[in-house]
Symmetry: C2
Subunit: 192 residues, 2 copies
């Protein structure tokens, strides 16, 4: 998606340790006009697929998921992160290992809002090691719902998440795949 790549090149900041900061438009300040275009692009890429629910994960996935959901005309459910030991009985639960934050947490979704009739598109802002998407896919499986695919805004192509998700046979659409970044020059190369 050219508009997105241009925006990443213009406003993204490459930091030490393969960090790409896009918090001026994607995950702290949020450009909802761009989100609207992102929604149209996902709609185009999943054209013909039957989708009746979008599943995302708190916190920064929620904004994009909600605007994207308007293009699909479906509700959003977001999985909650929790470190509480006492999880309520009426939820589906999966475990996610976060490399970025160096911790493990549970993600939960109420059984009321995910079930066998749901045809689910996963939406998230970033894909790096893929653990969050895998956790969401696990929730879909536990609920007996159908996983239609996954849409992410930015995939770090030099990290293993994208390949792992594709190897599972999941239809993954990444709107911008970063092939490499140079923290000295700030240069960002996208996969064609």
């Amino acid at each position: 998606m050219q508009l997105l790549k241009d925006r990443i090149r213009r406003d993204g900041k490459v930091k030490e340790g393969n960090v790409l900061k896009v918090d001026s438009f994607l995950n702290h300040q949020m450009d909802t006009k761009l989100f609207r275009e992102i929604g149209k692009e996902f709609k185009r890429r999943f054209e013909g697929e039957e989708i009746n629910k979008i599943l995302t994960i708190e916190a920064s996935g929620i904004g994009i998921a909600c605007v994207v959901a308007e293009s699909f005309d479906v509700p959003v459910v977001f999985a909650k992160k929790t470190q509480t030991k006492n999880i309520a009985a009426d939820v589906y639960k999966s475990r996610v290992e976060s490399f970025t934050h160096g911790r493990v947490y549970d993600i939960i979704v109420s059984q009321e809002f995910l079930g066998p009739k749901d045809k689910v598109l996963l939406i998230d802002d970033f894909l790096a090691n893929g653990k969050a998407l895998e956790g969401l896919a696990d929730l879909v499986r536990l609920a007996g719902a159908t996983l239609v695919g996954a849409g992410v805004v930015i995939e770090k192509g030099f990290q293993p998440g994208g390949d792992a998700i594709r190897a599972k046979g999941i239809h993954l659409e990444s709107l911008a795949i970063v092939e490499s970044m140079d923290e000295k020059t700030g240069e960002i190369t996208f996969r064609e």
Copy 2:
């Protein structure tokens, strides 16, 4: 807002301890069609006000804020909750006491995304004790930005937050004000 009140009466569940569960459409599963109508209603209620940024707080405020922002054609910034002791230097910070969760946490926003030129509308899903809104208003003040007003979807009128916010002279618009709830009958009475 009649559409919202009807929806709360239909799908809201009154639980012990003055809890109103609206997680089927507002803060776990999210009805983005309803959010769009909520956006139009806030736009109408703040008609004529100059607003160039919406500020909300993670996590459940983000979805509504993003859809509402489309009606105002402005970006959203969300304050992050943190319990980290080492807060970065380039953020504004306030402290919020959560009665619901019985804990105190810091909320932060990058100084890059809130400043003297910003005319800010606060958006949140719930208003009970008002501590989250007060924290957000504090961030606006610290940034030297202008606080135009606050829009909340559901105000619990029997808790002190709404009155406290109005007493500070903040232009508060609540789309549904719950005057009382009966956990035995499930009956919900709205303020006229």
